[in-house]
């Protein structure tokens, strides 16, 4: 378990995840209060990644439940393996005959079969889905419930029950209680507002796009070969683009893609032609690209003007001579 907030930052750093104090504090709290974290924020800021890194940092198994519309208990909790049960009964027909041998009347036959109930409704024939796996896991684990906003409200209510006492009752088997309360991370893209009851049980964490320093640190960490100058310029450019009113703002992963692409091209510093050609790595709409190109052209020009007024003057002179 984490010893302090610094410890969280350090161990996350070990997993190549740059995390701010705010995030680290919430993670630290969640680990100690044993409360789920509800992570919100724009797409691509590392919400899902947070859970993966948390599992990695603690050395726990990560169990992931991806939510979608129409997700139900059978897909999230457990399901009986009917086909296997059928197959077994077919194979065991003779044995069943033995059990039933000499039974007087229907009632007795049914009673005898009923006595064998637990053979068929045992853990052998159950397919554990992520929630049951997290609860019955023998080692502590991290449970990631991804894109909870995509699920239906009925499922949310059901989840509420599971998250509050970490036990589920399977009618045929009885109540299963978690041996270790898993650390739960829920992520949401805010496609719909979550219920107050769910929010009350969670710690809320809003992750926004990283600021300049953080993003630079992320780029340096994830793209090892990148030159300091290129990294600075890319991050500056992306930060400038995020200020524009675009349909889809570039996320961290897109910054990384762009940096990787540029390093592949052996680029050391950005210029407007290059930006023009590679912008499609971070922007996905035609209109967005056009707007950003205009903005970036000015941005690059500004940077150049700030950087090199003196050499420019010298070269001008040369031309004049």
């Amino acid at each position: 378990m984490f010893e302090s907030i610094e410890d969280v930052i350090e161990r996350f750093g070990g997993q190549s995840y740059v995390c701010s104090r705010g995030i680290a504090t919430v993670v630290y709290l969640a680990a100690h209060l044993r409360k789920p974290i509800l992570v919100e924020g724009p797409a691509g800021v590392g919400k899902t990644e947070l859970a993966k890194v948390l599992a990695g940092a603690l050395g726990h198994e990560l169990i992931r439940l991806q939510c979608y519309e129409g997700l139900d208990e059978a897909k999230a909790l457990y399901e009986w393996e009917y086909a296997k049960q059928l197959l077994y009964t077919q194979i065991l027909k003779e044995k069943i005959g033995e059990v039933l041998e000499g039974a007087q009347g229907l009632r007795e036959a049914v009673d005898r079969i009923a006595q064998q109930d637990d053979v068929f409704f045992s853990e052998r024939f159950i397919v554990p889905r992520p929630l049951l796996r997290a609860i019955s896991s023998s080692a502590p684990c991290v449970l990631l419930i991804d894109e909870i906003d995509k699920s239906d409200t009925e499922f949310e209510a059901f989840l509420l029950e599971v998250l509050s006492d970490f036990q589920v009752s399977v009618p045929e088997l009885g109540t299963l209680k978690a041996r270790h309360v898993p650390l739960v991370v829920l992520t949401s893209n805010n496609a719909r507002e979550m219920s107050d009851a769910l929010k009350r049980r969670c710690l809320h964490l809003y992750i926004d796009f990283p600021d300049r320093e953080q993003e630079r640190a992320i780029v340096a960490l994830k793209v090892p070969g990148v030159g300091a100058r290129l990294a600075d310029e890319v991050v500056d450019a992306v930060q400038a683009i995020r200020k524009l009113d675009l349909k889809k703002l570039p996320s961290i992963s897109e910054t990384l893609d762009w940096t990787k692409a540029l390093t592949l091209l052996n680029v050391e510093s950005l210029d407007s032609a290059l930006v023009h050609d590679t912008l499609s790595a971070i922007l996905k709409y035609e209109g967005d690209i056009r707007r950003a190109q205009q903005e970036l052209k000015e941005h690059v020009a500004r940077v150049r003007a700030r950087e090199a007024p003196a050499p420019a003057a010298v070269s001008n002179k040369d031309v004049l001579h």
Binding site: I5, R21, G22, T25, V26, Y28, L29, H32, L33, K35, I37, L38, E40, G41, G70, Y82, A83, L86, D152, T153, N190, R192, E193, D196, K199, R200, C202, L203, H204, L205, Y206, D245, L246, K247, Y285, E286, G287, D288, R291
Partner: protein, 470 residues
Amino acid sequence: MDAKIIEFASLLRENGIRVSLSESMDTFRALAIVGLGRREAVRAALRATLVKRAVDLPTFDILFELYFSGVGEIVKEAEAASMDALGTTPAEYQQLLEELERLLRERGIELSELARALLSGDTGGLERLLREAAGRAGVARIERTYQEGRYAEAMQEAMGTGDLARELEGIGQALAGEGEGTLRERQMARLVERKLRELQELIRRYVRGEVEKHDVSQRQAARMQTLAEKSFYYLSEDEIRRMKEAVTRLAERLKNALAMRRRSAKRGKFDVKDTLRKNLQYGGVPFKIRFDARRRVKPQVLVLCDVSDSVRNVSRFMLQFVYSLQDLYSKVRSFIFVSEIGEITRLFEENDIHQAIDQAIRGNVINVYAHSDFGRAFREFHRNHLAAVTRHTTVIILGDARNNYNLPHEWVLREIRQRAKQLIWLNPENRVTWGFGDSEMDRYLPYCDVVEECRNLNQLYRVVDRMVLT
């Protein structure tokens, strides 16, 4: 600290953030874990436990600043102002304070509690005195800005500024009035004098902070209210920006209402074929019952927007609304017309909102300088685009129906009505002027399911409700 947290929680509630009892309990447990040592950690802990909606975060941040840095910050700022006024560096200022203290001790001058806190730069003591005085003067009850003066006075009274003024005057005289008056002593006398003004400033700022705490949400609500009542005709750039904010919220509401409808219709009829097929793996024993998935009714909207001169400001806003609609739903087609009609669906899809609207009303799509001719535009729509109207389509027409005495061709509307799910007409003109002059509204009216006067946001809200719920 406990009392402060509880007070802060109720402050959040007052400002429209829902904080339940269990959440404030969590806060205590969280603070016990992170400790009170670091401001950022405390802030993160409060944020994670008390605020559960991303939209509330800005309010939380403002309130946190106001509440937890309140007095300490103010005191620091007031000191900085004093340093400026005396023209000293912080180090010199500190030295001056120390010398003053020594001098006062040497001369055996007794100080009141308040004067000592003020003269020795004891922030904590000063904060406590300020809070006590504020409690006695009931400053927490303040609600409006215009009450500031009155409460500031009450607080000055409670602090005993009158006594302090006399006391400081006495000290000043004792320091400077002994004849020789070195430069140093004169400087100290000025410092003492200055301290009185510092306290008055502190009190004023304290009261101001109190008002702001209670006012954060009220101010926002008031702003939206005035905006909602305002007619589209008179919008400045800034207001258009804020209006966009409102439309986005409106569109959000549209989406929620729609999701509700979808959920209630989730289960369809028993599907025999699919049930048989799915249960073949169990030897035909129907373990799993299948229902046919109801087809989702995606809202299909078709908008015809008048962009002639008479309604230009309105259509600008209406186009913003259309743009938001198109952003949200995949099946929205939009047209603009004056006397010709042109489709702008692609234009809106590919451009950002300002560019798209600019291009639409600048005449890049159709000639916008012609005279309005609804009849001709409708006939052209009938000829070229009628196939786009199906029984799932909601057709919205935005326009004032001022036809310049041309043929109205209302039969087009009749046909659209027959094919479409519903036909909505939003008219920016006041209802009483419909049908007068060249307005053909009366002829078009019988073929519309909903006809609304729609000039401002409140009216638009009403229309949206109808559009989603029918």
